[in-house]
Symmetry: C2
Subunit: 325 residues, 2 copies
């Protein structure tokens, strides 16, 4: 504190491996607090070393068991692990739907593990941004692997693809018809499929079906999704799953696909950040600025149509802090 | 065409009750085509007469059966009906998941009905905007009632609350644990609960549970959600459902809550429209503008952090078309 610190205190705490500082900064990022910006800025050059693995899939397929299995496997081979759970039903989140089903057997004194759950209520874009920043904080803190758990319904909720370098889609042999159809959307996300609960009847058939679907064509950059069967709760198939993830990571490096993928992720993030900023300005403007309130009244009276009003609003946002004015 | 038409052709078509013109304009709005703006502008003063009813709920509860039932009931009492279905679609088939299950028994020559399904692929915000504009087009065309069907998981997907004046949440007596919990989010949406498949065991219990939950407190403006049991496929409970919807509509008018609710919806729409505009500009900028591409490269090289880059981007968007420049 004496020599005019070059870094914000929060960033220094993270660099000094202070878990409390990490937790507080994560909370700040999650709340979309502008005050987190300076620490995030300071820590950004320290990121890019962790392997970010997304674990997604419909509700009830055992994503948490898979993460639990990976957590144990990774610790047993000496890797440190951060977990970000963006799933209202995850036992990692505490307030869990499946809370009683997956028992998390982890050593609370193990400094090689950090688990954080994100509230995924509210604005999906905001949660995605927060998740990305939290992942980055765990990366900067020095975890070797960051696992990001999201609920994937095949619809865009949080696009784990925009955050992780490898995305694992967890499925079970028999899903309801509807979920089965939603699975289609998950195909665009999956680098690795994990058919969990492989002890259930139909697991081999499900894996075979997936293999046929996968054989229809390679994914981005020529990668052909791997398919792994597992009984995560019994720990079966987890090393094989980790190997499949590793194969994809090597593919990313050897083909140069990683640089492209990262650039796309960053572009998506920048877009979301700009949107967040504009949304904030417009919301507060509509609440406080009398001229904007009057504009809204005119739309309500059907004197101005919404698209025209939005054009006016957009130009006002643009004008407010335009450079050179 | 001789006397310099005051209205765009598309708008004139809709006013002249040309269903083909309506369908084309809907497609244009759905594609977020800026060319639809002039017709939407011209038609906007003609909106506000239809009763917009949202029908939402988890997958598999029979929302389409309920809509089918309402459709028949409304036609039998002489009301014309537009339906906008925001169904999850398979990217492989482009078809509806529930397509084969509910047989829509409607007379294709009945000019009092218009059904349109929306692809809900891609950006949730874009789909919400499109759904709102399509609803408005059906309103301008002159339908008495517009039913908007969305999948509600309790998470924000498409917020039917932002579109409809009355929102019906359809549930079934027994949902899985997980869906049951997600239902909590649906509580904030529901003006009317419809417990469908009332012939299943547990229907009375489910209705009783709901009644207890509802008794915990009134919703916005003091409305206490109504609970209706139905067997939509057998047509049972549908007139009662329509009565409950009507009761909410009268509540909106008698208490003045309607004006407030509409203003909130419009504010949300304006915000989403501005966001859409900014997103378009930033996306195309990141693709085409060499300076923005260079900015992205610097972020990828970790020379600039994402939040700082987004600030720069936002100010550039603001500057580009600022008034008075």
């Amino acid at each position: 504190m004496t020599r005019s610190p070059p870094l914000p205190a929060a960033a220094r705490g993270v660099i000094a491996k202070d878990r409390g500082a990490l937790a507080r900064l994560i909370t700040s990022a999650e709340r979309r607090d502008p005050a987190a910006a300076s620490a995030l800025r300071a820590l950004y050059p320290r990121t890019g070393h962790a392997q970010i693995v997304g674990i997604t899939g419909p509700l009830g397929v055992g994503k948490s068991s898979v993460i639990n299995g990976l957590l144990h496997h990774l610790r047993s081979i000496g890797r440190t692990v951060g977990v970000v759970a963006v799933d209202p039903t995850s036992p990692f989140t505490g307030g869990s739907v499946l809370g009683d089903r997956v028992r998390l057997e982890r050593d609370p004194s193990d400094a090689g593990v950090f688990i954080r759950s994100m509230a995924n209520r509210g604005h999906a874009g905001g949660v995605a941004l927060a998740t990305r920043e939290v992942t980055r904080l765990l990366d900067a803190f020095g975890f070797d692997v960051v696992l990001v758990e999201t609920v994937g319904s095949g619809q865009a909720d949080i696009e784990v693809r925009d955050i992780a370098s490898t995305s694992v889609v967890v499925l079970v042999p028999h899903l309801g018809d509807e979920v089965q159809t939603l699975k289609a959307g998950l195909f665009e996300i999956a680098d690795v499929f994990c058919v969990n609960k492989a002890d259930l009847p139909g697991a081999d058939l499900a894996a075979k079906d997936l293999r046929e679907l996968v054989s229809l064509g390679p994914g981005p950059g020529g990668w052909k999704p791997r398919i792994v069967t597992a009984s995560a709760r019994e720990g079966q198939g987890i090393p094989e799953l980790w190997n499949a993830i590793g194969a994809h990571e090597r593919f990313l490096d050897e083909t140069g696909v990683r640089a492209d993928a990262e650039r796309k992720q960053l572009a998506a993030e920048l877009l979301a950040l700009v949107t967040e900023m504009v949304e904030r300005e417009v919301s507060s403007g509509l609440e406080r600025d009398p001229r904007l309130r009057e504009l809204l009244d005119r739309v309500a009276r059907r004197e101005v149509d919404p698209r025209s009003a939005a054009e006016l609003l957009a130009s006002r946002v643009r004008g407010r802090r335009a450079p050179g004015r």
